[in-house]
Symmetry: C2
């Protein structure tokens, strides 16, 4: 991905002289603080979540700025997709990998991949094709083939932050794991897909092009994953276990954070997917470093990465809220109100359709595959929730849209300006409307009494699966371990996780350490 | 202080196109990791410390880059004093405030202020006057009055990181506290002084100008301190204690970090000293937040700030090392080798002299003042160590020199280029030579058997002084508390700390919480 710090600076500076952007930074940091405080106070309220709070506060700040500057601008900082991709996204994705429950993730690996990879391709095709057909019908012209393809990728990326605040890992572990896992893989897939689109030759679009993109994608996926895991295993674990005979928390944490960031930049350097690399780096690090660092480092690491991710997320949503009122873009677009409304409706409709088109069929497929193993099936109620969970569009969509339709945050082309404002409207709409409806919907579709019974998750493998962070109290883990040992003798090993484990036990553990 | 992100970006970009600076970032992060690893491995070796390691690795990297680029450049990133002041300095200073032992700091407040404020003014005068006289003698002309004044400020800022790795807080608590406290206040004073110099009218330098600067300084010092403490007390403590009925570690940490940063930018916004504000913000936050956040937040906060500071420090020294080989500057300067050697010798001599000129007299003064109280006197051996401790010059000197003699890291003026290279040479020389000699010297001047006896620190006030972080094990604290209660009845309360405490107990504690 093209990363350009120059634009980052330009974005920061914008219309700012020396003193002006100290003001900008101060205001932005102050508003960010306000977000956290309000977000915390509203935490009990399940209709509103952190993202919605940040967007709303962003809008309010934008309005105030708009009035304060006499309608000139509503933003403190100019949105820059490069800033987003270099500094904001890596901590979020890394943290996702670091905090993910590895057991669940690997047990559901196939299903997650189905949703996160194949699903995105289905959704992408429907949105790209649908917008190409429908935009012309409402009289909105001027986009090229590559733009339509980009729109497909832009609106295929989901934002699962909202629903994760409603679902609970303990109540519905499998559902949670599927939604969370898909969310992460989905982010990665849509970014990779978006980049692939930039490189294909749109003049000769054939059936083979899709295969071509898919092949490239698989190659990227595989190499990025290997890089992320390899870096942690080769470097970090080796350093900490073999070289460090004394422990120094600050040094360990600094090394972990820098190594993670290094994996991201290295991947970008080799034209791989940094997002995937850093995600798997997070998984590998949480696993391997876990067993090799001190108790203090463990606690600190978990919180430090969560905090960074937390700040980055709030930053993004706050920004999207502020940017919604940017007068430049609204003035630049020339489409009539009716056309705009048409575009918004088409996009929202395609999002709903595109997601439905893969969640239900792929769930059936997943159920068919796993019917041979003893994994719980995905019930229809769960399918509805998975479908709903991926309707929200977030920061990745905005970042990709800016990348496609602006030149470092500025656009004067009326058609492109329309696409930017449409993206922002769709993101706001989906986050605010779909987001607010999430809790009632989940409660309706999955009443509390159904949650635990619906999902008879076999509580196995804890003692034998190495990729488990000891988070539960020891007593319950010991109980589970006893149970799982007997279960293991009864049922065959199906999941990817098991193969992974074998490889891990045989080659990795002796070299890099970890509990045996 | 003029803060300009545009230069920051320029500095990052330098000669980099799209892909090039992903390379830069990767290499820099990788080298940073290497620093930590080597630093950790060499930790046992008391001749070498983290700063020296980083500088040496920086030099080596610079050499490699120089060869790799066929002698064109030795740096990955261009040094930018704005980047330094916006992003690297705040975490270091904040962490210093956050980790400082508050009891010791406030008990020695007067002495620390004598060294850190009056001392800097004395040293500044000697270096500025000395360089003005001596540079002309060796035939080095071309500097203006303001430049000489700036040189005084640049070389008055000390770097006490080195000696803090040699002294131990438990063995020589008072000495440690004096050296550490002076180091922090000194940083702040020299930056404030440097800024004051930029604003004075050099055409009419009179005796009153010095008074003028000193008055401005005191005003800045007072307002910045008040701002730093007020922000924490008004906002953070109020929010966390009164509004947050549940605790959320990530949110608390995020708020603490952002509030600290906000205090820095706010101070810059009001043209106060951000460095002082953020230092006192650190002290206030470590005190008040300490009693109001969860155990997890406490541990995480301490490590998170230490880690950030740790990375920032390594970053700076690594950079200084790399920059030392920058061919541009060496080519731009036209002074002969003999003249250069003369400049270096003069500067090192003035540093030695300027520091001696205030450490010994002010120690005597401090001893005279505290002779009425029961505080231990500063022995001659301690004076020698305090003198030596402040001989190293570090990142602040380099940053100020770049600010004065370059325009966003570039200079083509031969005289200014000479001053930049001289600063770097002096920093390298003092860190490497003085730094390496520190441990032998401390052992020679203060043999181990002398350390505890030399300093009969009255172990009092623990139960009554609120500004104490419970870091020692509880048993020893209880013992101390008992002892201190009896001692308190016998001896009068002299120190600033005591007045502070009264104010604290009476007005602050009831409103903002804390142990009673």
């Amino acid at each position: 991905m093209a990363i350009d710090l120059f634009y980052l600076a330009r974005s920061f500076l914008d219309n700012a002289a020396d003193h002006n952007h100290v003001v900008s930074i101060s205001v932005f940091v102050a508003v960010l603080c306000l977000c956290f405080i309000v977000g915390h106070l509203l935490e009990e309220n399940r209709w509103i979540n952190e993202s919605i709070t940040a967007i709303v506060i962003g809008c309010i700040t934008g309005t105030v700025l708009l009035f304060a500057s006499n309608g000139k601008h509503s933003r403190i900082l100019r949105f820059d997709e490069e800033f987003f991709f270099i500094y904001l996204l890596p901590p979020i994705i890394f943290n996702a990998g670091f905090q993910v429950k590895k057991k669940q993730f690997f047990q559901n690996f196939l299903t997650i991949m189905l949703f996160g990879v194949v699903g995105v391709f289905i959704s992408f095709s429907i949105i790209a094709f649908g917008s190409w057909k429908l935009f012309k019908k409402i009289g909105f012209h001027g986009l090229h083939t590559r733009d339509y393809l980009a729109i497909g990728a832009i609106f295929s990326s989901t934002d699962t932050v909202c629903i994760l605040q409603v679902l609970h890992q303990d109540e519905t572990p499998r559902l949670y794991s599927l939604v969370f896992g898909e969310g992460v893989v989905n982010d990665a897939t849509s970014v990779v897909l978006f980049n692939a689109i930039q490189n294909i030759d749109v003049t000769k679009l054939e059936g083979s092009t899709v295969l071509h993109v898919f092949r490239d994608f698989l190659y990227l996926f595989f190499t990025s994953t290997v890089l992320g895991i390899a870096e942690v295993r080769m470097c970090l674990t080796f350093i900490i276990t073999k070289l460090f005979n004394r422990h120094s928390t600050d040094r360990e944490i600094a090394l972990m954070a820098l190594m993670a960031y290094l994996s991201y930049t290295m991947a970008e350097l080799f034209h791989l997917s940094g997002i995937l690399t850093v995600f798997f780096c997070g998984i590998a690090m949480s696993h391997y470093a876990w067993h090799n660092v001190t108790e203090n480092s463990r606690i600190t690491a978990r919180h430090i990465f969560a905090t960074l991710s937390f700040i980055a997320e709030a930053f993004i949503f706050l920004y999207v809220g502020m940017d919604a009122l940017d007068t430049e873009k609204w003035k630049a677009m020339k489409a009539s109100f009716k056309t705009c409304l048409g575009i918004y409706s088409i996009l929202v409709f395609l999002i709903l359709l595109g997601r439905a088109a893969f969640v239900f069929p792929l769930s059936v497929l997943s159920n068919y595959i796993s019917s041979r193993s003893e994994t719980a099936l995905i019930t229809f109620r769960h399918q509805v929730i998975i479908w709903w969970a991926g309707l929200m569009r977030g920061a990745v969509s905005v970042a990709l849209a800016f990348n496609q339709f602006t030149y470092s945050g500025v656009t004067w082309d009326p058609v492109y300006a329309t696409m930017i404002t449409s993206t922002i409207v769709v993101v706001l709409f989906s986050t605010l409307v779909f987001g607010t409806l999430t809790n009632p919907l989940v409660n309706f579709v999955l009443p509390h009494h159904l949650r635990n019974r619906n999902n008879p998750q076999p509580k196995a493998d804890d003692a034998t699966l190495p990729l488990v962070i000891p988070e539960e109290p020891t007593t319950s883990r010991l109980l589970q371990a006893k149970r799982s040992l007997t279960m293991l003798l009864e049922r065959p090993v199906h999941t990817i996780h098991a193969y992974w484990r074998k490889f891990d036990d045989k080659y990795m553990r002796p070299v890099f350490g970890g509990p045996t």
